[in-house]
Every structure is written in structure tokens, then in C-alpha cells.
């Protein structure tokens, strides 16, 4: 029963992921993109949950869905994209098919590589993926990346501010 539920949930989420992806890939209007993005990220979060990654699920929901998607949405609204400003894409299908052919080896390789690495999920304890265990790990193995990541975020923030700031007063064209 649970298995069926899990399977169907997985199918649903997988469908969500792909739908979101395809919406981004194929749609033309920014609103659809945002929607697709939202669906995709949320579905990924759901998949995290299915994988017993509870902390990751929350993080995804909070940061990605709650943060990134929202900010993206705000951005779309802020710049108030006009339909006319959207690029014309006359040969989209052709490009799509061409690109699909080109990336086929990569996808194939990726899939082939990944599928050799495990047959079935082993059972895990309930605490797997929880905040406590992850926190312990983070303070044991992840201090350095964490520190660097903090600097990274700071940098990105500073950078985003610098880039996003309105025109400065010094307007020397060069």
C-alpha cells in the first residue's frame, strides 16, 4: 500500500519536475516560466522528501521555492516584461531538435554512469536526513565549505547590489 502510494507519489513528482522543466523550455511568456520553475523546484523538493531528506526538503522549499522562485517572480514583475521585448524565436524547434541530438551522448553517458552505482535503496534510520544528524555532520566535515559559502553568499550579495544598483552619477562612457 505504502509502496503503491510512494510509487504514485514519485510518478506525480517526476511528472511535476518534467512538466516544470518543459514549461520553462517551451513556453514563451515569463509568467509560464515562473510557474514552471515553481512546479519543478517544488517537485524536486517532494522528491527530496521521498528520499528521506527531510532537512533538504525544508531547505529546498524555503530557499529555492520560497526564495529563488519568489525573487524571480518579483524580478519578472519589476521589470514588467512587455511581450514585445521578448525575443522572437523563429527556429526554436529546429534548435531544440538539434540540441537534443547533440546532448544525447551526454544524457546517455550520465544515465549510464549513474545507474551503475546502485541497485536499491538500503533501509535507513529515521533520523536520516534530519536536522540533528546533518548538523553534526556539518560541524564535523562541512566547516570549511560552509565558511567559504558564507563568503560566497556575501560576495554574491555585494555583487548583486553593485550590478543591480541604478545608474551611478558618474556617467563617463568608455
Amino acid at each position: 500500500m505504502i509502496e503503491i502510494l510512494e510509487t504514485s507519489l514519485f510518478a506525480l513528482l517526476a511528472l511535476g519536475v518534467l512538466t516544470g522543466g518543459l514549461m520553462i523550455l517551451l513556453a514563451r511568456r515569463p509568467a509560464t516560466h515562473a510557474m514552471g520553475f515553481f512546479i519543478a523546484l517544488l517537485s524536486v523538493a517532494g522528491l527530496f522528501a521521498l528520499l528521506h531528506q527531510s532537512f533538504l526538503f525544508f531547505a529546498q522549499v524555503l530557499v529555492s521555492v520560497g526564495g529563488v522562485v519568489i525573487v524571480t517572480l518579483i524580478m519578472i514583475l519589476t521589470v514588467n516584461l512587455r511581450e514585445a521585448d521578448l525575443p522572437p524565436e523563429p527556429h526554436q524547434t529546429r534548435w531544440l531538435i538539434g540540441a537534443a541530438v547533440i546532448i544525447a551522448p551526454l544524457s546517455l553517458l550520465l544515465y549510464q554512469t549513474l545507474t551503475t552505482l546502485g541497485d536499491a535503496f538500503p533501509p535507513v534510520s529515521d533520523t536520516f536526513g534530519g536536522t540533528r544528524s546533518l548538523g553534526t555532520l556539518l560541524f564535523h566535515d562541512g566547516v570549511l565549505p560552509f565558511e567559504i559559502l558564507s563568503v560566497l553568499l556575501l560576495t554574491a550579495m555585494v555583487g548583486a547590489i553593485i550590478i543591480g544598483k541604478k545608474e551611478q552619477s558618474y556617467d563617463r562612457e568608455s
Partner: protein
């Protein structure tokens, strides 16, 4: 306590400097010069702290209780630290005039600069793919912003956009590779991975190779190896001079730091990455880069194209590692240094001259330069000679080591191609020399610019001197350190790796 923390000191100094700059950048009244010198002081301080550490360690995990095995202090990393710090300071000082003429560079610029260097340093020290990735991202993000720093300049925007899109795109490959490594071995610590591969390597050859190559793809992208080079010309052109120079010289060093570490520890003995694929890429890079460089009229683009070629040379040596070339890795380090010195000279002069004009410089702009600015022309000529690998410059020795490595590893065709490409490069480098020296000055532009005694110009001159000194060596002046010593140092650094 002090001794255990010492390896952190340079890194810490840099990050402190970055914060200091961020803080004071809010103060409007501080002059740009102060930012510049504060940055340089921090860099030099860090340099001074790092310098005595060289030659003291090999494979020491710093504060293992806190950081686990992720942060490694060894001579290898220290040497690269020194190159980043010195290179960063040089880049800034040489561009001092350029920066001075443009008031939109402020504290944040220098803070980002320091962030980038911080990222590079942690990259060099990282013994774990995850911090390595994050450091790389940190450096990249800082440089994305630096690239687009001059927002009112459309080219700058465009450059940043391209770099950002393609850079993140390429960055995904790194983390994908890391993920696969993790999937195979359950760890991302490089030394543990190496140990794992020693034992189980053959079972998961495809996965491991895929992971290794995906990581390499990101590195190759940043180096600008063909076919991952396409961003390079536009980004170099669109970036402000100090940033271009930084990317061409220091960033490349950083990437080879991680590439070498991965290669020497992870790939070489385990045969994860076929040398032939790197060789093949080296061939593509050499040919493609020379094609790009030869067909440019703008100097910055030419230098960008040529920097692709120089990346190709280093790939030659990279592909020779493990094939019996006893100096392949030191050759790369020597080449990095030689390329750094010569390209810093070249970019520095470009930026010095471009400081006044607002146009992208072309070959034509250098017509008759030797009359207007004899000293600068001489320095430029020396840089060009060195870049083309003309003997009696440090560039020749760099190429010499590279070719020797290729020959030692039995890749004769590759060495031959490298030599041929060096021949082709003579054309586009000497074209500039010809422009400078062959034309009499036209009347209206004939006035001689006096040689401005400034830290920028003096450093460019110093670079020129080092270029010559490095090429000629020391046999005429006994007891004076020779360029040969650099190889010994590099060898020692390589030796400090497990």
C-alpha cells in the same frame, strides 16, 4: 597555537582585508588611491606571511578537528598562494594609472578583488572537491561582478552576461562530477578518493572517468581550452583592463592549481583520464587559439586568443604528466609564471596606454610607438618576444620545458605541433613589434611622451627585466639566482603533494 594557525594567516589576512574594504567603501570621502593601497598592503602582508611558510610543509591537514581533511597546507598550495598574492598585488599596482583615471572603481571593487583571491587561495588549499567547487564559484562570482563592473559600458555588461551564463553552465559540470565521485566513493576528499580509486578504480572506471572529466571540463572552460573557449575573447575584451589581466594571469594560475592537484593526486596514477583526451584538447586548443589570435585586429582580443594558445601549451605539459616526463608539472608552473610575467607586462602597457583613450586598442594604434614612448615600446617588445617564446626571454624557457615534457612523454607530434604554433604566433606578436618600430611617427602625434615614473610603469619595467633575466639565466653573473631556481621551487612544491 600560532604555528597551527599560521597556514590560515594569509587567507585570513585577505578576507579581513576584503571586509575592511567593504566597510570603508561606504565612506564616500576616501580616495580611490587609498583603497588601492590598502588592498595592496593586505596582499603584500599576506604575501609576507606566506613566504616563510614555503618549504616547511607537505600534506599537513590544518586543524583536522575542525576542518577534517578538507583544508590542506602544503608547499604546493603555499607556492600558489604566493603567486595569487603577488600576482594580485602586481595586477593592481600595474593598473594603478588606469584605475586612477576612472573614478567609478571604489572600495567594493577592491573588496571583490580580494574575495576572488581568497577563493583562489582556498581553492589551492582545498583537499575536498566541495570546498574546491565553492571556492571556484566564489572566485568566479567575484570575477563575474568585476567583469561587469563598469556598468555604463555596454561591452562590460555583455561580457558579464556571457561569462555568467556560460560560467554557471560550465560550473554545473564540476558539481555533477563531484556528485558522481561522491556516488561512487562516498567521499569527496581528494586524498580519500585517490585511496578509493587505488583499490576500486577498475570496477567503476566509467563513472570515475566521467566524474573526473566533468570536473576537468569546468577547469578547461575557465582556462579557455578549445572547444570550451568561446566566451574568452568577448569577455576579455569587455572587461576592464585590470580584470582582463587578472583573468588572464592569476585566474589561470588558480585553475592550474586545482587541475594540477587533481591530476597529480587523482588522475595520473589511476588512469582515470586518458592522456590522449587532454592531448587531443591541447591540439584543438593550440590550433583553434592560434586561428583566433591570428585573425584579430584588436590587441586585447589578440592577447585573449593568444592566452588560449598559452593554455594549450600548458595542456601539452598536463597531458605529459605521468607519461615519464620528469618535469611536466614543474614545467606547467614555470610556464604559468613565465606567462604571468610576460602577459602582465603586455596587458599592463595596454592598460597604461588605454588609460587615456577610450577606444579599444588595435595594432594600428601602436604605429610609431617607439618614437613616442621608447621605453614602453621596448618593454612591450620584450613582452611580445617572451610571449612568442623567443629565446633569451623567460617565455622561451617556459616553452622549452613544455616541449621537453612532451618529448619526454613520447608525444612528439604534440611537441611538433606546439613548435609550429609557436611559429605561427611569431606572426601576430611580431606584427605588434613591427607596428611599434617600423613606422616613423606621424607628425601630429610625434611628441615624445616622457617616461612617467610611476609604480605602474616601474613595475612594467621590472617585469621586462625579469623576462630577460629569466631567459638568459645567470651563468654570466655567478651567485645570482637563476630562472632555473624556479623549476627547483616548483619541483619542491610538487614534491610536497602526497
Amino acid at each position: 597555537m600560532m604555528s597551527t594557525l599560521a597556514p590560515f594567516l594569509p587567507t585570513t589576512l585577505v578576507i579581513i582585508g576584503a571586509f575592511v574594504l567593504l566597510l570603508i567603501s561606504t565612506v564616500r570621502s576616501i580616495h580611490l588611491k587609498s583603497y588601492l593601497y590598502i588592498t595592496v598592503v593586505f596582499l603584500l602582508l599576506a604575501f609576507a606571511v606566506a613566504l616563510p611558510q614555503f618549504g616547511t610543509r607537505s600534506g599537513v591537514y590544518v586543524l583536522p578537528k575542525v576542518f577534517g581533511h578538507t583544508y590542506l597546507a602544503d608547499d604546493f598550495a603555499t607556492l600558489f598562494d604566493l603567486m595569487f598574492l603577488g600576482g594580485g598585488a602586481l595586477t593592481l599596482l600595474i593598473n594603478a594609472i588606469y584605475l586612477r583615471k576612472r573614478d567609478y572603481y571604489n572600495g567594493e571593487f577592491f573588496a571583490l578583488f580580494l574575495f576572488a583571491i581568497f577563493g583562489m587561495m582556498t581553492l589551492a588549499h582545498a583537499n575536498d572537491l566541495v570546498p574546491a567547487f565553492i571556492s571556484l564559484e566564489l572566485t568566479s562570482i567575484a570575477i563575474y561582478v568585476l567583469t561587469g563592473y563598469h556598468k555604463n559600458y555596454r561591452g562590460s555588461n555583455e561580457a558579464m552576461l556571457k561569462y555568467l551564463v556560460l560560467g554557471s553552465f560550465a560550473g554545473a559540470m564540476f558539481i555533477l562530477g563531484t556528485a558522481i565521485f561522491y556516488g561512487v566513493a562516498g567521499t569527496t576528499v581528494i586524498s580519500e578518493l585517490a585511496a578509493f580509486i587505488q583499490i576500486h578504480g577498475s570496477e567503476h572506471l566509467l563513472a570515475l572517468s566521467t566524474a573526473g572529466l566533468f570536473i576537468m571540463i569546468t577547469i578547461l572552460f575557465k582556462i579557455g581550452a578549445v572547444p570550451f573557449h568561446s566566451w574568452l575573447l568577448d569577455v576579455y575584451l569587455g572587461s576592464p583592463f585590470p580584470v582582463t589581466m587578472f583573468m588572464a594571469s592569476v585566474l589561470k594560475v588558480a585553475l592550474f592549481a586545482i587541475a594540477l592537484r587533481l591530476y597529480l593526486i587523482l588522475y595520473v596514477d589511476t588512469g582515470l583520464i586518458g592522456n590522449q583526451i587532454i592531448s587531443f584538447l591541447a591540439i584543438l586548443t593550440l590550433i583553434g587559439g592560434s586561428w583566433l589570435a591570428i585573425s584579430q585586429s584588436m590587441l586585447k582580443r589578440m592577447l585573449a586568443g593568444s592566452s588560449i594558445v598559452h593554455g594549450g601549451y600548458m595542456l601539452i605539459a598536463l597531458s605529459s604528466i605521468g607519461l615519464g616526463a620528469h618535469l611536466a608539472a614543474p614545467a606547467i608552473m614555470f610556464y604559468l609564471l613565465s606567462y604571468f610575467i610576460s602577459s602582465v607586462g603586455a596587458f599592463g602597457i595596454l592598460s597604461y596606454i588605454a588609460a587615456d583613450s577610450n577606444r579599444p586598442l588595435t595594432y594600428e594604434d601602436f604605429k610609431g610607438m617607439a618614437h613616442r614612448r621608447p621605453y614602453l615600446s621596448a618593454m612591450m617588445a620584450i613582452s611580445m618576444l617572451s610571449l612568442s617564446g623567443f629565446p633569451s626571454t623567460i617565455g622561451f624557457l617556459g616553452k622549452f620545458y613544455i616541449f621537453m615534457s612532451a618529448i619526454e612523454s613520447g608525444q612528439f607530434a604534440l611537441a611538433g605541433l606546439g613548435i609550429f604554433i609557436a611559429f605561427v604566433s611569431v606572426y601576430y606578436y611580431f606584427k605588434l613589434i613591427a607596428m611599434m618600430y617600423f613606422y616613423p611617427c606621424e607628425e601630429e602625434t610625434c611628441e615624445q611622451h616622457p617616461f612617467e615614473i610611476h609604480v605602474s610603469t616601474l613595475l612594467i619595467g621590472l617585469m621586462a627585466l625579469i623576462t630577460i633575466w629569466g631567459g638568459i639565466g645567470t651563468s654570466l653573473i655567478p651567485w645570482f639566482p637563476g630562472a632555473d631556481g624556479i623549476i627547483s621551487i616548483a619541483k619542491q612544491a610538487i614534491g610536497s603533494l602526497p
